[in-house]
Symmetry: C2
Subunit: 246 residues, 2 copies
């Protein structure tokens, strides 16, 4: 039995999310079916983190155990052949230590949230970015975002379905940058609560369009109460960028 | 009658190209239908340049004459409402002088060609980039590209359907840059021959994968003969970025 570390890109639009569910196709299920097609053995594919319906990944990381003797390159190409036409691609595959765990060993996760800020409708970015019509002040959003950096009780930004043991997390980075009509929000932490990135982005959008001041954001954080949340951003603009391991 | 300058973004995948044709839906036709729906008058929408089937635009420019009294902002929003669900978006609309001509007054055109260079299949970029599996040397491509910059007879890089009066064009810029597995090729000129960007990119790909030397590219250009063309790149990765006016 050989354990492999997989780096996976996917378009979240057709999926109910990463995790195997009864109510529709998931990324995990598609990967497990591809592994079965290649190896004729049932295997669980463990991800570094779950993503919700409609959320994308540039670099989700997972691990899987394979009994069939296959090189990493052959496994990658065989999985990709079996995954088609699903928009899931194994962009890297490497042998891992037998005790490597994609979720429990992960020491850093990065997400990017893309907003397109203009009146005109989206074309090819539809479903791949949040379309915000009201003008956003990205500098004000970036300044306010720094309130959230550091160790805080993020209960306000936590889904009721969150399974994390504690609402206290350390946010290492939350940067907002604009290039033309595109605003990118980069978030990095060891781990995030369920819906945390989308909830933080939703509130930063309120700061950006002038509905909220930076003080309102500070109060929402301090409230440590989900009902203080201003807005949850849609999944469309969220990308799981990378998972890091020591 | 008021003339308007439109800046248009589109996803080229569902279209036979910019120009109105018998054999399928075109971007021009979709725009002219939207204008008719808004004004109840037949109008021609003149583009700064044609794009082929499957080629995209971030900033195609066109002009159209409108008799109905409408502000530029109202016209933009009305056209966008009528264009849905086609992936065409009028991102800017402004009043233009009565003699402004999107094609004849254009003094500069910019294109970008996106390549994704990796073994793994594409996901959301499918149809929006050329997927090249063999490793490409972007530095070698950039160096060879400089052979094409300047004034040359570009007959080698010209489609048999090209309607340009002369094959002599001045290429102002042809830059190749890599970021991760993404290679972007930026091209700028006053005007291009039909298929010129795709033909230049196709030959640069041969240089990048080692099939051609820079000398082979120089010989192909000097041949001034379409049969000397190494490869025409697919439309997928080509974006009309902008049109410029004095």
């Amino acid at each position: 039995m050989q354990r492999f570390k997989l780096t996976i890109e996917y378009d979240g639009r057709p999926f109910v999310g990463w995790q195997r569910q009864e109510n529709g196709p998931s990324v995990q299920q598609a990967l497990e079916r591809a592994v079965f097609a290649v190896t004729q053995a049932e295997s669980v594919v463990y991800g570094s983190g779950r993503t919700d319906a409609g959320v994308h990944a540039e670099g989700q990381v997972a691990h899987v155990d394979i009994a069939k003797p296959l090189s990493a390159v052959r496994l990658r190409d065989a999985l990709n052949a079996r995954l088609r036409p699903a928009p899931i691609s194994v962009i890297a595959c490497e042998p891992a230590a037998p005790d490597f765990h994609a979720r429990f060993d992960c020491t850093g996760r990065r997400y990017r949230y893309d907003i397109i800020n203009r009146r005109a409708p989206l074309t090819w970015q539809s479903g791949l970015a949040w379309h915000v019509l009201r003008p956003l002040d990205a500098d004000a959003m970036h300044a306010a975002a720094q309130i959230l950096v550091g160790q805080h009780d993020f209960t306000t930004f936590r889904s009721v379905h969150c399974q994390s043991a504690s609402p206290v997390k350390t946010l290492d980075r939350l940067d907002v940058t604009r290039a033309g009509d595109r605003i990118a929000i980069h978030a990095a932490a060891r781990s995030f609560l369920h819906h945390q990135v989308r909830s933080m982005v939703g509130c930063l959008k309120l700061v950006g369009d002038g509905s909220w001041s930076a003080h309102d954001l500070r109060s929402a954080l301090a409230a440590a109460d989900r009902t203080a949340l201003g807005l949850n951003a849609p999944p469309d603009g969220l990308f799981f960028v990378s998972a890091h391991y020591r």
